[in-house]
């Protein structure tokens, strides 16, 4: 990992009781902001990132030197218009871009936490980030927005803080991680654990990284973010820089080469233990169970205006799971809109240039912002 320069950090002094029972305090929460907070402080949007995202939503990520993960959606004149809105995004706790996570040193033992880091949940992530509102003096956010795990945080945020956001946009997510979701995450975790370098999570002290295992985890997960049709159209059976099959196990096919590349660049920017912790948090997410089987109860106290978005080719968090959230909201008479965007780009659609999605997001935000009486 690079030295974390250019990272803004809020030290959260207030103790936070985690779902696992442990209490943390004086922990770092790394964040970034875009645009400016207006005088009324009513133009703030809290963006939640997904599994492998970070606080660097748009522009050039100062650590990876690559475009921010949501550059298509966030920026000047874009769907989440930074000329208009004050965008805040924090690295989730458990993450590896400056927020309190398993690569931090345990002050008691003076050793890197590794797997001694407490298991965190989506609820814990959200409860850590609420401190940003006090920090910026924001009484009520204009919106909370996020896709995938970011969407789960949106749902948890509204459930925990029903009057802290005027609008909420959960995108391509679920209210309860499915067996299939857990299965894929477990595959990733086992790939990391099977790498000898992982050393039961203590690789930091040995100055090694379980890069092979982490790369396999990323490769497997990456497949779940794409659709069969999208893969077929982009790669088909095209060969990688060769005219014929080589009768060996090098990357003959372009798709193989592509996945290997995705795996290799991922290990440069992501911590293997963070991957374990964050996937665990997703697996533990079950807002339905948290409300004893009635998801509607999670939203019964909120006046927030919801906009739920799903994608036709997303088989990881399919439309029906998003619609279940719509149904739960309708059951308590919440103000909820819903659209399923046609796209062949799979779960990743929300991160990509999908014009219908970007248009819907922009229109919802701008029209809601114009309704001052909300």
């Amino acid at each position: 990992m690079d030295i974390k320069q250019n990272i803004k950090t809020l030290i959260v002094e207030k103790p936070l009781k985690l779902d696992c029972g442990q209490t943390i305090s004086n922990f770092p929460l790394a964040y970034e902001t875009y645009g400016s907070l207006n005088n009324e402080k009513d133009n703030a949007i809290l963006v939640f990132h997904a599994l492998t995202g970070d606080q660097f939503v748009t522009g050039i990520n100062p650590v990876t030197k690559k475009d921010g993960w949501w550059s298509y959606a966030v920026g000047s004149g874009k769907s989440i218009d930074t000329d208009k809105y004050f965008v805040i995004c924090a690295n989730v706790i458990g993450g590896c871009m400056g927020s309190f996570g398993p690569s931090h040193e345990n002050p008691k033992t003076k050793k890197i936490y590794g797997t001694d880091f407490p298991v965190i949940t989506i609820n814990d992530m959200v409860n850590a980030q609420i401190n940003l509102l006090d920090f910026f003096g924001i009484k009520k956010l204009f919106s909370v927005v996020g896709g995938s795990m970011g969407g789960m945080q949106v749902l948890q945020f509204i459930s925990n803080y029903p009057d802290k956001a005027k609008t909420a946009i959960p995108i391509a997510c679920t209210s309860s991680h499915s067996a299939q979701n857990i299965a894929f995450n477990e595959l990733g975790r086992q790939a990391i654990a099977a790498d000898h370098n992982w050393s039961d999570g203590n690789y930091n002290s040995k100055n090694i990284v379980p890069d092979k295992g982490l790369a396999v985890a990323r490769m497997a997960a990456h497949i779940t973010y794409l659709s069969k049709k999208g893969l077929q159209e982009k790669f088909g059976r095209k060969l990688q820089e060769r005219d014929d099959l080589k009768f060996g196990f090098d990357a003959d096919f372009q798709i193989e080469s592509y996945l290997r590349y995705q795996g290799s660049v991922f290990v440069d920017r992501f911590d293997a233990n963070s991957y374990l912790y964050i996937t665990r948090a997703m697996d533990y997410f079950d807002l339905v169970k948290q409300f004893n089987g009635n998801l509607s109860d999670a939203f019964k106290n909120t006046k927030a205006k919801f906009f739920i978005i799903s994608f036709t080719s997303d088989w990881l968090y399919p439309t029906q799971e998003n619609k279940d959230i719509v149904i739960a909201l309708n059951a308590v008479g919440a103000n909820v809109g819903f659209v399923e965007i046609k796209s062949d780009k799979g779960h990743d659609s929300f991160l990509l240039n999908v014009p219908d999605f970007l248009k819907a997001l922009k229109n919802f935000l701008d029209k809601s912002y114009a309704e001052k009486h909300l």
Partner: protein
């Protein structure tokens, strides 16, 4: 804007909570929002139309009224509007029951298949009628369950719902339908507008 929107608006009380089923591009929703300060939601099957509604700042759920009304609890709305789409459903009876379960009252408008032009069209041409309000050929029409004003009145007796108010639209003029003028309205009404209750 369709001429019946003003009539529908007149049937709705101020500040009411309204669901527009098959809300199209949200024109009626906007009209009711402006004129009646209605707390209005829409449900629409076309993705393109949903996008148009979002661009207008309207709260719309993409969905199929035949299957997706069941997500709303009983009496979620004071009024549920179904504009000129009853004839397109596989099971109009279920839809009517769902409208009246979800809403206290429902406003249903139907293109009248008993209109004289339709009758003459079939009588003289001997082919399925094509008119301004029914522009499709028989093989590509979404309208699989056409009915007349008289049919709808009879339907209320068959499946047992109350017609609270029935109006006919003739040359953009609205008039009441009653037992004594039903035959006349069924011949000249282009559109039937019904305020119904359980």
């Amino acid at each position: 804007m369709k001429p019946e929107y003003k009539i529908i608006s007149d049937l709705i009380e101020k500040d009411a909570k309204v669901l527009d089923v098959g809300c199209d591009d949200g024109t009626l929703m906007e009209f009711l929002k402006t004129n009646k300060n209605a707390n209005i939601r829409g449900i629409e099957i076309s993705k393109e139309k949903v996008q148009i509604c979002i661009a207008k700042g309207l709260t719309v759920i993409e969905g199929n009224a035949e299957f997706d009304l069941k997500q709303f609890p009983n009496d979620s709305f004071e009024y549920v509007v179904l504009g000129q789409t009853l004839q397109a459903f596989i099971n109009p009876e279920t839809v009517i029951r769902e409208l009246l379960r979800v809403g206290n009252k429902a406003i249903v408008t139907i293109p009248n298949f008993g209109h004289w032009k339709v009758r003459l069209n079939l009588l003289f041409k001997g082919t399925m009628p094509i008119t301004n309000s029914l522009p499709h050929d028989w093989y590509n029409t979404p309208n699989i369950h056409m009915c007349t004003i008289k049919d709808f009145v009879r339907f209320s007796e068959i499946i047992n719902f109350k017609i609270f108010k029935s109006l006919a639209l003739i040359n953009e003029n609205v008039s009441d339908i009653n037992n004594s003028n039903l035959i006349f309205k069924n011949l000249f009404g282009e559109l039937g507008i019904f305020l119904i209750e359980k």
